[in-house]
Symmetry: C2
């Protein structure tokens, strides 16, 4: 480490070091003081390196080209279907978010420290107790968006007098969760949601299935859309008197894909379901997709909620088919988190690549109730951007994707030549061609290397000869060929070479 | 307030109420306990309303249409000029941000509370002291992005081995500041930055001035780009031995527009500049734009840094002109915050509307030095999205802007008719037309009102007659006219009516 770096570190860490001295000098134990500093400083020294908070990512131009390709397809499909974009702030009031995602979810919400003297509002008795979770409401009033659904509910309630219902909105923005980062799981990630609020019509379900079909068709990812109905599941729970063990019953079922039938049945029995019932349930849930939902009718005949589910699912299936691209598969074992959905539920998976769900959604009846506004039924779906990207990379679907490199670079041979080239650069841009002038009159080789590394397809060289002749030497970087042309000829070739 | 709402509030506030009971029951003072609850609960009750944190905004589809219009123009201009997009996470490590924006800036950084038991790492002695700013580093390790410049420096240092220099990047993302919200000043707002790193060429300055010209030309906002050079200012400071009062000297000058010459001179004198020098300075700084920078040569002849500034500014001015749209005005009194820029500085203002600066930028030499990497000179500019939008609204430049409403809505007359219409909706979407089916078979009047309120230009009615004839009745919502057409005729008319 050189001197400049050390002096910089000195500047940065002076306040921290003083803190330590101050803190530990009170303790009158010099050995402890030095021990502590020795332990702590190296860790802090490591932090001076330019680094990202864990679980977050920079997106390079190359990665953004892929992400934007996917986002554009989703946006276009949303807009073609009459959905309008909405954006909400990155942070919400803490009260807006807490209590909406269960205990586990609450822990994953990033809270923002109040500005200024944030300890001011902490009552002395609370401070004395030194309990972090009790202190939170006094030192934090804001938190980062955890999903796009609670902000949607808050938005709809706040704007309900200006909104035209049924309200079709889409939202593509990042959310943040203090999850343990893993491969493919980040603390900042984008959600792409479309929801309709204010209509109970089953055409909404049809709309969303169609949207999945259209987007994955355009992305060229073969998918299977699995579909189920929460009222059917409730009917079965009612039929077998499972109300008291509903949660463990559903939780086990939800894991079927991962753990298999034997373990699901074992978990059921552990939660108090008799061996006989568990056996019966396994039989029912193993119903073949093409017999769902019709074959549930005898079972649920005396349970109105269950029959409603069967009827609704039948209606959706009949309206939606045939799909041009996706395969729609009724699946009784599809559960999707209990506390949220009240009607149809669905989930999308890639057929060709192993990669969890690429999206999911369903109907919910009481979203805005948490803000005191009832009777706004809604339905919505979500696209999992990161996973879609991974699938497309695995399937090599990004090959040939154009990045953000300009179409042409002009070599800089010195002031006069650069001025001549600059005029051409400006004129090309006016015609919609992306062009740039290399800023420094360095060696030609270096300039050509720059163009090659950035994948710029054309390079123009204009020196004294070209200036005299009012021409330009155009080099096709892939073929290596060179031609002297006038402006208009050059423009045409570069324009055609575009993608 | 009805019972449902109260029971809901009960659910939400139960944990809070328990907290209070727990905390205050320790004090054995029942009166105090009840008094506290009475005071605190009404305030908390008010919070249950759907509300935004102060200084933040929701963006409705109408507002987003305007914002995206501006952002698209900026993005296109950036990309046409060879800039590539980069995105960085919403939060950075706290150490990455602190110390980069001055003391005042540091206070405005939103800090994120560590997850879990965030009090665990606070040393007992620090906790005892109950000093908020000393406690911060122990309970917060992350903070929200305050601008896009420090993240750029961090990005360039982290990715320097894969980056091709000169590195032309643009970044359009929100930033957050705990500023006191005011009219036009928000706690969350977008920055739109373009920077080049790794070249000292003055062609970069030319590039940025051209970018301002092009974007504001496309947005149809007449603007003036004021330009100055930090080396010229440094030269004058040197000439008059103002090194010791540099900061107050520049701060006063920076306010010239707002407070006028008399007050600037008064402030100068207060900071210790003699009346004679202040008078001389006023004379120099009142130099007419068309005589800048040439007329400074006699004054700065013996000050190399000043002369360098004069030469560089002359070069930029000669290379850039003539501009097709913007007026480029050399302005010696342009200062733009001291601690950052080292070369050319510039600022854009609307000519027709009073509205602070719409953008600004300049050259800086040591951006990445804060992360220990030297000698990466850079230059950049920024666009003020919110102010540009306000100017365009005032100038009525958004008139006729197409929103996100679909081009056509199909009326829902019932199951059979809806199925017939749904097929047409799908086919229209395949041709790129945005179309939707009204989800519920409610009264025609209600459906037409929905279409009118959403500004949907065409409505299709297809009942039994149309189904029999395989036709569609197309209603032009603006003209009120109706025609019966086959699919292809209908598609053509809707497609042509597309903005």
């Amino acid at each position: 480490m050189n001197n400049a770096k050390l002096s910089f570190l000195g500047r940065i860490f002076r306040p921290l070091t003083l803190n330590f001295l101050f803190v530990f000098s009170k303790k009158k134990g010099n050995e402890i003081l030095f021990a502590k500093i020795n332990v702590t400083l190296p860790k802090r020294l490591a932090m001076i390196k330019a680094a990202l908070p864990k679980g977050t990512r920079d997106f390079t131009p190359e990665q953004l080209a892929k992400r934007q390709f996917i986002i554009e397809k989703i946006k276009n499909a949303f807009e073609r279907s009459g959905f309008q974009p909405v954006e909400t702030p990155a942070f919400e009031k803490l009260e807006t978010l807490t209590g909406k995602y269960g205990n586990e979810g609450d822990k994953l919400i990033f809270k923002i420290l109040n500005s200024g003297d944030f300890l001011k509002k902490v009552p002395p008795a609370v401070y004395e107790e030194k309990n972090a979770s009790k202190m939170v409401p006094y030192i934090s009033e804001k938190a980062l968006r955890y999903d796009l659904t609670v902000p949607l509910a808050r938005y709809v309630v706040m704007h309900r007098n200006e909104i035209v219902f049924p309200f079709k909105r889409y939202q593509i923005q990042p959310v943040w969760r203090a999850d343990r980062p893993q491969k493919g799981r980040f603390r900042e990630f984008y959600q792409c949601d479309a929801d309709v609020l204010g209509s109970k019509s089953l055409w909404q379900e049809v709309e969303f299935i169609q949207l999945y079909n259209d987007v994955f068709s355009e992305l060229k990812i073969p998918v299977e859309i699995r579909i189920n109905h929460r009222k059917i599941l409730n009917g079965i729970i009612h039929k077998f008197n499972l109300e008291d063990v509903k949660q463990p019953f559903m939780t086990a079922l939800d894991k079927l894909d991962k753990i298999g039938w034997d373990k699901v049945v074992a978990e059921w029995q552990k939660s108090g379901i008799s061996a006989q019932t568990a056996f019966k349930l396994r039989e029912i849930f193993s119903i073949s997709p093409d017999k769902m939902p019709e074959h549930l009718e005898p079972l649920l005949r005396d349970i109105p909620e269950g029959m409603e589910g069967v009827e609704e699912l039948k209606t959706v299936l009949s309206r939606v088919s045939p799909l041009s691209h996706a395969e729609l598969v009724p699946d009784l074992s599809l559960a999707r988190g209990l506390d949220y959905y009240t009607g149809t539920i669905m989930e999308v998976r890639a057929k060709s690549v192993q990669m969890g769900s690429l999206g999911g959604g369903g109907r919910y009846d009481n979203l805005t109730e948490i803000f005191g506004v009832k009777d706004i039924s809604g339905a919505g779906i979500s696209f999992g951007l990161d996973r879609i990207l991974l699938v497309m990379e695995e399937m090599k679907l990004f090959e040939g994707l154009r990045g953000f490199e300009p179409q042409v670079m002009f070599v800089n041979f010195g002031d006069k030549e650069a001025a001549y080239s600059w005029k051409a650069v400006k004129k090309l841009r006016e015609t919609g061609i992306s062009a740039e002038l290399y800023p420094d009159a360095v060696k030609l080789k270096k300039q050509l290397q720059y163009a090659a590394k950035r994948n710029i397809p054309f390079v123009v060289m204009a020196g004294e000869d070209e200036m005299k002749a009012q021409k330009f030497t155009l080099k096709n970087m892939q073929e290596g060929s060179q031609t002297q042309l006038d402006f208009e000829e050059m423009r045409k070739i570069i324009g055609t070479g575009k993608n």
